[in-house]
């Protein structure tokens, strides 16, 4: 593969060029209710070519090798148009060349497990959910993606690293009291099929919660002291802060870039935040990013002070900062952009019960329903929550969406738990979908957060 890609790249030229080839095998099984809706696997592949020439930086993605010459021509045209007519002046911080071939380290290679066994595993969890009280339907999905990635660049780097992710996700819907309530439970990771086995408790617990939501009332809109469970902490830090650690997001936004100056205090002393794609087993694990740069742990915030950010070769050059290995593409259809690998809040000193005590008449929110950010504003939803009474979770509430301002909320963190967990479900929709963006942390207490009910 190295020789083949080298031959292709040799035809490109430019001040710098690189090429990534990916062969992606995907297996998907879905039950809807008790019925099998889909089961099968397919293979896709494609190339991503990038060229830097006279300040213009462009990419061309193509699926067939017969299209190589045209892709080179278009990439050069695009780079030239941006460099000359557009007055683009891009530069890249290209690391010293490296040659590496990484092998998957799996407990149970999912590709060696039969479709029947995968189906049986999914079906067993689906039956647990469907047999649960008030459940009217469920969408149970087994998803397995193996990306064989090969990267080469004109500076002499060649990296081959496959990535494997497996997950079982069940979206469940219960009905009663004239309403529908839903929830989702996920198990998954990057270290093999075995982690999906023996996880009945995860699905059973969530099915019970979804049933109980039918009797829960919507949370009253207002401002609360909130305690986030680890999954919510992960989404909070991903949305509220993580996106602004992605250098490309603020590179061309002078006002935000100024606010995100390194060594500036952005949060309270209790808050330390890191991103580490090399952390084993978690769903976002990789050794090299999609620019062939080694991923590494980055301390983004230390005791409330901004200490680092996530980079591609282009943004590292633009900021004059070190490479971090965070340029990631969804798959062969895209050039990489800066993405979080696995962002987390580091554990603090408090027991979760102390945080509940500290919340007063607050809100304990659990399990993510997704989030979104836009500059300094962010929202994130919870699957369920409890009103906190006398330091204990009390009445269950639903329809919880939290909203805040980055620069205010990070100062409002008043307690950080000593526990920690990384979510088994990845996901981030910045420009491309990234199912491998992991997040987590401990329980945390935040004062005065705006919550919207229905």
């Amino acid at each position: 593969m190295k020789r083949l890609l080298g031959n292709y790249l040799g035809r490109v030229g430019g001040d710098y060029s690189d090429m990534r080839f990916e062969r992606m095998e995907r297996t998907r099984i879905e039950y809807r209710g008790h019925e099998l809706l889909e089961a099968g696997s397919s293979v896709n592949q494609g190339f991503v070519l990038r060229i830097l020439e006279n300040g213009g930086f462009a990419s061309a993605c193509f699926t067939g090798v017969s299209d190589l010459d045209n892709a080179i021509k278009r990439a050069k045209e695009c780079a030239q148009s941006m460099g000359s007519g557009g007055k683009m002046n891009a530069g890249l911080l290209v690391p010293p060349p490296v040659e590496d071939e990484i092998e998957l380290c799996l407990k149970g290679d999912p590709r060696a497990v039969s479709l029947e066994e995968k189906k049986a595993t999914l079906s067993s969890y689906n039956r647990i959910v469907m047999a649960s009280k008030d459940m009217i339907t469920a969408s149970a999905v087994y998803e397995e993606v193996t990306r064989e990635r090969y990267f080469i660049n004109s500076a002499g780097t060649y990296v081959a690293e496959p990535l494997s992710t497996v997950s079982i996700s069940i979206r469940m819907i219960a009905a009663g009291n004239g309403v529908l309530q839903n929830g989702r439970a996920v198990v998954g990771g990057s270290n093999g099929f075995e982690r999906l086995l023996g996880r009945e408790d995860v699905f059973l617990r969530k099915a019970e919660i979804v049933s109980r939501l039918l009797d829960a009332r919507p949370v009253e809109a207002g401002t609360y002291n909130v305690v986030l469970n680890p999954e919510m902490t992960g989404v909070f830090i991903h949305e509220a802060f993580g996106h602004f650690s992605e250098a490309d997001l603020i590179e061309h936004n002078p006002s935000l870039r100024e606010k995100m100056t390194i060594d500036r205090r952005l949060g309270c002393e209790l808050l330390t935040v890191c991103d580490d794609p090399t952390m084993p087993a978690q769903i976002g694990h990789y050794s090299y990013d999609d620019e062939g740069v080694a991923g590494r742990r980055v301390v983004l915030m230390q005791k409330g002070i901004l200490r680092g950010r996530l980079h591609s070769m282009q943004t590292a050059r633009s900021y004059g900062e070190n490479l971090t290995g965070h340029a990631v593409a969804e798959d062969f259809r895209y050039a990489p952009i800066v993405r979080m690998g696995c962002i987390y809040v580091t554990p603090g000193d408090n027991e979760p019960s102390e945080l509940l005590d500290g919340a007063g008449e607050g809100l304990y929110v659990l399990d993510s329903k997704g989030g979104q950010t836009s500059g300094e504003n962010f929202t994130f939803g919870a699957q369920y929550g409890y009103l906190i009474r006398n330091g204990k979770p009390g009445e269950m509430v639903r329809d919880i969406n939290l909203m805040g301002n980055l620069f205010e909320t990070l100062f409002a963190v008043k307690g950080v738990g000593r526990d920690t967990a990384i979510s088994e479900m990845g996901g981030c929709g910045k420009a491309q979908m990234n199912i491998r963006s992991a997040m987590g942390g401990p329980h945390i207490l935040i004062k005065a957060v705006r919550a919207g009910g229905c």
């Binding site: 193509f62 892709a71 339907t137 309403v179 989030g371 979908m433």
Partner: protein, 433 residues
């Protein structure tokens, strides 16, 4: 494709081959300067086969080995997934003019010049008070579907899309416009100037004050409501027993002045289609007519389960994008259109004592979608008092349920604007924030 179909016929009762090829160049300017350019040429094949009441599928980007694609579909078939539908037979071509040959002459420098012109117009109005970002893309899409029932349909589409955006300070909160056509079109200066003026009015940051605000929902923000309506009006939801609109056909569910249809055949729209991703003819489909719910929309699978004719809404889409070739067709409202009302946006604003113009939202995907609930952050929400925009609201949420909200629609704007899933006017709902 024919060879693939022939091989598939050898192992199945019936089969379908779907082909999709796209060429696209995307150009991004941020802060009025070039930030990235990407070209792509993607080809994909998807195979679906049926044997008895079982179905199987596979896909690939380059079928160097068609036998392997057929073998994977056969393995999928053996897994035992049910497929009750029949592939549609040949139907008369009812083609649309969706291809402008001039697209092949459009060049990167021409698009870059247009982006620079847009930035110049906006910056001329903003005078340093805002940041302009502009994205543009152009290219071609070719689709073809053949099946063993004799269907052979294809469509060639050209597109040019541009979206100017002005960012508020310290933020990615923005006001934006979208325009698309089958060929190059210069963006009208008047719309850019209106955008810049609305932005300047929205610069002061305000608190909402007491409750009781009217909401004016923009075409961009309308997708929050559409997402939940689509979840209920989909025949797949009806099959699954999770539709809030079950048993509501012919019943009043919205204000008299509100009508929404899905029409894939709008002239001059590069999203227009004369068949869906299963080859079923596309046609206009009323969802809500003068406030009355008119019908579920379906793909082949959901229609067959309900014993109905498919409505031609089977598209290879998913909530978070994805490679269309890898997705199975699901019922989708891809070409929505709200019937325009009588008032201009200026008139709607002028008649509002206290309200908020919701130009964008955060968190549309959160909340209990099957139940119709939503709870979103305004991003931005422009505060209106005594008929004028006074600024934009800080940390404000908009929550509720679409069904009571639809009954309280008090005004529908007279102009339609392009958004993600169709053409929408500004819509006013009384006393909801």
């Amino acid at each position: 494709m024919e060879k693939l179909l022939s091989m598939a016929r050898g192992i199945a009762d019936s089969a379908e081959v779907y082909y999709r090829e796209t060429r696209e160049t995307e150009i991004f300017f941020e802060d009025s300067s070039p930030s990235s350019i990407n070209h792509s040429h993607r080809v994909g094949f998807a195979l679906r086969i049926k044997k008895g009441e079982r179905g199987g599928s596979s896909y690939c980007s380059e079928p160097k080995d068609p036998a392997e694609l057929v073998r994977k579909a056969a393995v999928s078939l053996d897994a035992g997934a049910k497929a009750f539908f029949a592939f549609p037979g040949a139907h008369p071509a009812d083609e649309l003019e969706t291809f402008d040959p001039e697209i092949e002459k459009l060049s990167d420098p021409q698009v870059i010049n247009e982006i620079q012109r847009i930035c110049a117009v906006l910056n001329g109005e903003l005078k340093g008070k805002g940041q302009c970002n502009v994205s543009a893309s152009y290219g071609e899409l070719f689709l073809r579907i053949i099946n063993t029932a004799g269907l052979d349909v294809s469509q060639k589409i050209s597109f040019y899309k541009v979206s100017p955006q002005i960012l508020f300070p310290n933020s990615q909160e923005s006001l934006r416009l979208k325009q698309s056509a089958t060929g190059f079109q210069s963006f009208p200066d008047s719309r850019l100037i209106d955008l810049a003026r609305a932005y300047i009015c929205g610069l002061p940051v305000l608190d909402a004050g007491p409750k009781g605000l009217d909401a004016i929902i923009s075409p961009d923000a309308f997708h929050v409501l559409l997402w939940r309506l689509e979840a209920a009006a989909s025949a797949a939801s009806l099959c699954e027993g999770v539709s809030r609109l079950k048993g509501k056909m012919g019943q009043k569910i919205a204000s008299d002045i509100f009508s929404l249809e899905d029409d894939a055949r709008i002239k001059g729209n590069p999203q227009s289609r004369w068949f869906d991703d299963e080859g079923v003819p596309a046609r206009s489909h009323p969802v809500i007519e003068n406030g009355v719910f008119r019908g579920f929309f379906s793909n082949l699978d959901s229609a067959s389960r309900l014993g109905l004719e498919p409505t031609g809404h089977g598209y290879r889409t998913a909530m978070w994008g994805g490679d269309p070739v890898s997705l199975k067709p699901v019922p989708t409202l891809a070409h929505c259109r709200v019937r325009p009302g009588s008032e201009s946006l200026d008139e709607i604003i002028a008649s509002t004592r206290r309200g908020v113009l919701i130009e964008g939202v955060l968190g549309a995907h959160s909340g209990n979608i099957p139940n119709g609930d939503f709870s979103v952050g305004l991003n931005p929400g422009l505060y209106i008092e005594k008929g004028k925009i006074r600024g934009r609201l800080r940390n404000t949420m908009f929550s509720g349920n679409i069904y009571p909200l639809f009954t309280r629609i008090s005004s529908v704007g007279c102009s339609l604007y392009e958004s993600e899933r169709g053409m929408f006017p500004y819509i006013k709902v009384g006393d909801v924030l």
